[in-house]
């Protein structure tokens, strides 16, 4: 089978799975539905492996042109053609493996998690459609196919967050997620339109060659447009990857079933912004303003959401804010010019965060939908597999030496200091955040798994079955070892794997940086070890502090809360950002919408329309019933005349 067909099949299988479950297997048992859906992702996973090791690693991208999607002639005799084409290069290849690999595990897990549902087929149809969209997002050869996936994942996320639609809160969270994403999507669209306007193409490879062939002066003349493209792309990234100012949808999205939180709102969809920034890196680096903005947004999101994580009591909310925070790290990596470390953190994060969410799901499942960590505790003895895997993933996320997060996060921190757009302040923010992360994650782990049980019926809690624990174990193994892709030079003596692997994709961006005189400041080995020691130290401080405060349960936090008073409440209320948005965006727009209708439409415009006959009346006649002007009567006569005429004609 040739590679083009394999690539098409990778996208086709989940689509077929969705259609089968939606129209053919809808009435069958959860086992059949789940197996179909899982196979529809597992087969593409195997195909992706074949493609990845057979061709992509060798350096040849696989390109499949499926059909002509849009073709419009231009007045100069050329054609404006957009083909529905897929390209799997090294960047897409990595995402391909994560999406299908983690996706398979989560589909399997969902079979157990959703087995009480009355109509689970709906859930699996959405999941399969999500996989299709996500694959199109990373495989598209041009911005339009990517955008198809980009909006597709938004829709699936909307449908899945609102899966239990009878609960108003879920539906509201779904709408919020969709609208926030849509704001980002509008940014993406505008970026796409500017790209076409400047470069006459939206195909990635053509865009790259056009930009390579464009003289420097063009970029200087059009620096405003170039900056706008970058900022609009950043808006798109902020929407999908939950960054300031659009991150508020992600925590609410936890209303969806937990496997959804693991797959969509941690491992895949939210990382699509990082994918896009890598894909468009050669456009972003054209504007230092854009790069700096990206880095600042990333760092700010990382630290802001980490602080919110301190005071949340819902196990999924803590993880959600930690996702925002980790995404902030990835965005920071891209912003300082170390795009590849954004990707390596995407990969390690996919493992440990999926593991954490699925572990949280396992706990919630065992505790009959209890999500409040204040009512947990002491689960280690009752759920050993869940606990151990969760702890491994925790060590990974806080960057405990040797675990995957340690390498991928340290690479980002080093780049924040020394990258082309890095500076010590960005590093400092990232460093503090690492300490915060250790604190809120250890607080979470301690309150859930250790100490006394605070559940109402602790005797009912027991380990979940193997369909849930097997994915947990696999993910835990990868959480521990996944860091291999980013082991830095200081340990091995040669450049880290991810930098070498992605260099063909990022080459052009680096060339552009070089030609504009922006260089990576090379860190000395002792400096690098110094930074590493600093982050290990702050992780330990954060972790030990958390355990000390919470060793006797959640009441330990109360002293802490009292000590900080106002600041604590501010953090607990998520910095009141939602309230602020409600006050300055939602309410004014809602009132404006009402005002437009009641005043402008009904009074002003309709007033004029209805007023014309009345003005005619007051101008021409002296005394008559004010309610019926002469012109109006006149028109009524015409109307009645035509009416009668018609009645005679037609009836």
């Amino acid at each position: 089978m040739n590679n083009q067909i394999i690539l098409a099949l990778i996208v086709l299988f989940p689509l077929i799975g969705a259609l089968l479950n939606a129209f053919v297997l809808r009435k069958t048992s959860v086992v059949v539905v789940c197996l179909t859906a899982t196979l529809a992702v597992a087969i593409p996973f195997i195909l992706s492996l074949i493609l990845f090791f057979g061709s992509i690693t060798a350096g040849t991208p696989v390109i499949t042109e499926l059909f002509d999607w849009i073709s419009v002639p231009l007045i100069n005799g050329k054609e404006f053609n957009i083909s529905f084409a897929l390209t799997a290069d090294r960047l897409s290849g990595l995402f391909l493996l994560v999406i299908t690999g983690v996706g398979t595990l989560i589909h399997l897990y969902s079979g157990e998690y959703m087995h009480h549902e009355k109509n689970p087929y709906r859930f699996f149809v959405y999941l399969n459609l999500f996989i299709v969209s996500m694959l199109l997002l990373v495989l598209g050869s041009n911005m339009l196919v990517t955008f198809l996936g980009w909006e597709g994942v938004g829709v699936c996320s909307y449908l899945l967050i609102g899966y239990w639609y009878e609960d108003t809160a879920n539906s509201m969270a779904a709408i919020k997620a969709f609208i926030a994403n849509r704001v980002g999507d509008a940014g993406f669209l505008i970026a796409m339109f500017f790209c076409y306007m400047l470069f006459k193409t939206i195909n990635y490879s053509e865009l790259a060659s056009v930009i390579a062939a464009t003289p420097q002066t063009f970029f200087i003349d059009h620096s405003i447009e170039i900056t706008l493209i970058g900022l609009c792309l950043l808006l798109g990234v902020a929407g999908k990857s939950a960054q300031i100012p659009l991150y508020t949808w992600l925590p609410d999205a936890m209303a969806g079933p937990t496997p959804v939180s693991a797959l969509i709102h941690a491992a895949t969809m939210v990382t699509s912004g990082i994918y896009l920034m890598n894909r468009m890196s050669f456009v972003l680096v054209l504007s230092p303003t854009v790069m700096t903005t990206i880095a600042i947004i990333g760092a700010a999101t990382a630290i802001l959401s980490a602080t919110i994580g301190f005071a949340q009591t819902d196990i999924k909310k803590v993880l959600a804010y930690s996702t925002c925070s980790q995404l902030g790290y990835m965005v920071l990596a891209c912003g300082v010019g170390a795009f590849q470390y954004g990707v390596s953190h995407v990969i390690t994060h996919a493992f440990f965060k999926a593991c954490l969410f699925l572990g949280a799901g396992s706990v919630i499942h065992a505790m009959h939908h209890e999500q409040d960590i204040r009512k947990m505790g002491g689960l280690f003895k009752k759920m050993p597999i869940t606990s151990i895997t969760f702890i491994i993933a925790t060590l990974a996320i806080i960057g405990f030496p040797g675990f995957s997060g340690f390498f991928s996060k340290d690479a980002i921190l080093a780049a924040a200091w020394s990258g082309p757009f890095g500076n010590p302040i960005l590093w400092f923010v990232g460093w503090i955040t690492a300490g915060f992360t250790a604190f809120y994650m250890l607080r979470l782990t301690w309150l859930v798994f250790f100490g006394q049980s605070r559940a109402e019926h602790p005797e009912h809690i027991h380990e979940t079955n193997f369909v849930i624990t097997i994915p947990l174990i696999i993910l835990a193994v990868f959480s521990a070892l996944g860091g291999l892709i980013a082991i830095p030079e200081v340990f091995t003596g040669h450049e880290d794997f991810i930098t070498r692997f992605l260099s063909p994709v990022l080459l052009q961006a680096q060339d552009i940086l070089k030609s504009s005189g922006i260089h990576t400041n090379h860190l000395s080995h002792s400096m690098e070890f110094g930074l590493m020691a600093a982050s290990v130290a702050i992780v330990f401080v954060g972790a030990i502090f958390a355990v000390t405060v919470y060793k006797n349960g959640p009441q330990g936090g109360e002293r802490f809360a009292n000590a900080f008073g106002g600041f604590y409440r501010l953090v607990r209320d998520k910095w009141r950002v939602d309230k602020l948005y409600n006050l300055i965006i939602y309410q004014p727009l809602a009132h404006f919408g009402k005002f437009l209708f009641r005043i402008i439409d009904r009074k002003v415009i309709d007033g004029v329309v209805n007023g014309i006959p009345e003005t005619l009346y007051t101008g021409t006649s002296v005394a008559s019933d004010a309610q019926s002007g002469m012109a109006r009567n006149y028109l009524k006569f015409i109307y009645v005349g035509v009416f009668v005429f018609g009645l005679i004609l037609f009836l």
Binding site: I75, L144, R182, F193, L596, L635, G646
Partner: protein, 532 residues
């Protein structure tokens, strides 16, 4: 044989529904007898089949008018003739109309209860007039059909409408009269201007008038452009001439609201065929102000739709918003924008049609168009929810639906014309999602609290059929756009070229092709093979 059919096919499409209408009026029967509905249904299906002849024998790579027919119906000296023909742009609109009429006709089986014969006859008359408007190449003929298309609507609303139907009809009528008069004055002026410029030879062939109009002094062109554009702009509607629309939608019978998807397109078609092609210089001059009005319409309509509680009023302001996209695409004056607008005319008819069918299903069962009367419908009618979500996706213009291709082309086209207005229009995609998601939530989701909704009866077979066809179309148009847009390419390139050169559309046409009306013999199969 094929040649004879090709020559008469357009006239057949115009006359056939009228004949069917007469048949229905002649056959006696009560309102509850199904025979009239069967005849009307059969007629629209046959009409659809006839129209497929156009698709099968259309030569795509030319902008010439095809299937053209010229007959004399008034004294020769007047120069007013019966001329019909299709090029790419009206071809797809004719097909849209015939497909749509057949789908909409099914609704009459349940929604139409009283004075059945009259309504069916009016509906068929409307179909005939719509096709007449699309295929007329003579402006007098166009005007006749334009007026004919308005009359059935007045009656449909005036007789079968809701409780405030008289006010709604009156408002619609006043707007209609103003528009028609403006258009009439402009066309009469052109008609005499042509005679003046051509030594007293009269003609109302639009292809002749294109040459006349393009040669007029700019000032005159400007006034004529304004008259014609206002006439069509009211009917589109373009902000701020839209206030008839909410009243009409609220009061109109179900069938009209469904058809409105096509009826509004008569006006957008008119904008392209008349405003743009007759007065290229004026079109350039006024493009920006009209784009601004369109952008206002997009945002204004979407914001108002969000805060409405009545479903039909939401649809009215949603239409204002969506039609704003079509108008901004037209007045971006480039092929990409025009192509998008034309494509969006199909998509808007289909998605709005599907939504109206869905809302009427609720209305027929619950007697209400108020959002607050629903909630949790997805639990009782899962298939209904399925179709609803697809139609909503189409309305939001998500990629994979046809509307996305349309809107995307429109936006990229308007960006070429004016990036600032293009960006503002792009914001419409955000607000467009807000009101649809809100309405979806209010109807489908949330707890199922109302007793009446728990007992709501399922969908009829014809409703499932209608929605299935429209849903499939929504997705087919999302991927098969290249094949459909092929038909319209030459015409639209020609329009852009005539605007760029500020020259008459027909002289551009004559420059690139041998003759403007394609001889019928060219449709013979040998020719078709030789064309490429």
């Amino acid at each position: 044989m094929i040649d004879e059919i090709s020559q008469w096919i357009l006239s057949l499409l115009i006359v056939f529904p009228v004949l069917a209408a007469l048949l229905i009026l002649m056959i006696p029967g009560k309102d509850d007898s199904r025979i009239h509905r069967h005849i009307a249904m059969g007629a629209t299906v046959l009409e659809l089949i006839f129209s497929l002849h156009l698709l099968a024998h259309f030569v795509p790579n030319t902008a010439q008018f095809q299937f053209s027919q010229i007959e004399t119906w008034l004294p020769k000296s007047t120069g007013i003739k019966y001329i019909v023909g299709v090029d790419g742009i009206n071809l797809i609109l004719v097909l849209l109309s015939t497909i749509f009429c057949a789908i909409v006709m099914m609704t009459t089986y349940t929604s139409l209860k009283t004075k059945v014969k009259g309504f069916l006859a009016l509906f068929l008359l409307l179909e005939s007039a719509i096709i007449g408007v699309f295929v007329s190449v003579d402006v007098v003929l166009f005007y006749v059909f334009w007026e004919l298309s308005l009359i059935p609507v007045y009656f449909m609303i005036g007789i079968w409408g809701g409780k405030d139907r008289i006010y709604a009809t009156l408002k619609l009528f006043i707007y209609g009269v103003i528009g028609s008069l403006l258009m009439l004055v402009a066309l009469i002026y052109l008609y005499f201007a042509h005679a003046n410029a051509n030594g007293g030879v009269y003609s109302s062939n639009i292809l002749d008038l294109y040459v006349t109009a393009a040669a007029l002094p700019f000032n005159t062109q400007m006034w004529l452009f304004l008259a014609v554009t206002l006439a069509f702009g009211i009917k589109v509607p373009i902000f701020p001439f839209h206030t008839w629309l909410p009243d009409t939608y609220e009061q109109a019978p179900a069938t009209y609201t469904l058809m409105s998807g096509v009826i509004l397109k008569l006006a957008t078609y008119g904008l392209i065929r008349f405003s743009l092609c007759l007065f290229p210089s004026a079109a350039i001059y006024f493009a920006k102000p009209i784009m601004i009005l369109a952008v206002i319409g997009i945002l204004y309509g979407a914001l108002i739709a969000w805060k409405q509680t009545n479903i039909r009023r939401i649809m009215a302001f949603s239409s204002l918003s969506h039609l704003g996209f079509i108008v901004i695409g037209i007045f971006s004056l480039n092929t990409i924008g025009l192509q998008g607008s034309l494509y969006q005319m199909l998509n808007h008819a289909i998605t709005a049609g599907a939504l109206f069918i869905l809302f009427n299903i609720l209305y027929e069962r619950r007697g209400s168009f108020e959002l607050d009367d629903f909630g949790g419908i997805a639990k009782v009618l899962p298939w209904y929810a399925f179709f609803f979500v697809i139609a909503a996706m189409g309305s939001v213009a998500l990629p994979s639906t046809g509307s996305f291709i349309g809107e995307w082309l429109i936006l990229i086209g308007s960006f070429q014309a004016n990036p600032v207005l293009g960006s503002l229009a792009t914001l419409g995609v955000i607000f467009g999602a807000v009101y649809i998601l809100w309405a979806t939530y209010k109807i489908l989701f949330g707890p199922l609290t109302k007793e009446e909704n728990k007992k709501i009866i399922g969908m009829h077979k014809h409703e499932v059929f209608q929605l299935t066809v429209l849903s499939i179309l929504i997705f087919v148009l999302g991927f098969a756009s290249a094949g459909i847009l092929d038909h319209t390419k030459p015409t639209l390139v020609n329009i852009e070229r005539s605007i760029k050169n500020k020259s008459a559309y027909s002289s551009e046409l004559a420059n690139t092709h041998n003759g403007i009306l394609m001889p019928i013999s060219k449709f013979s199969s040998e020719f078709k093979q030789g064309v490429k």
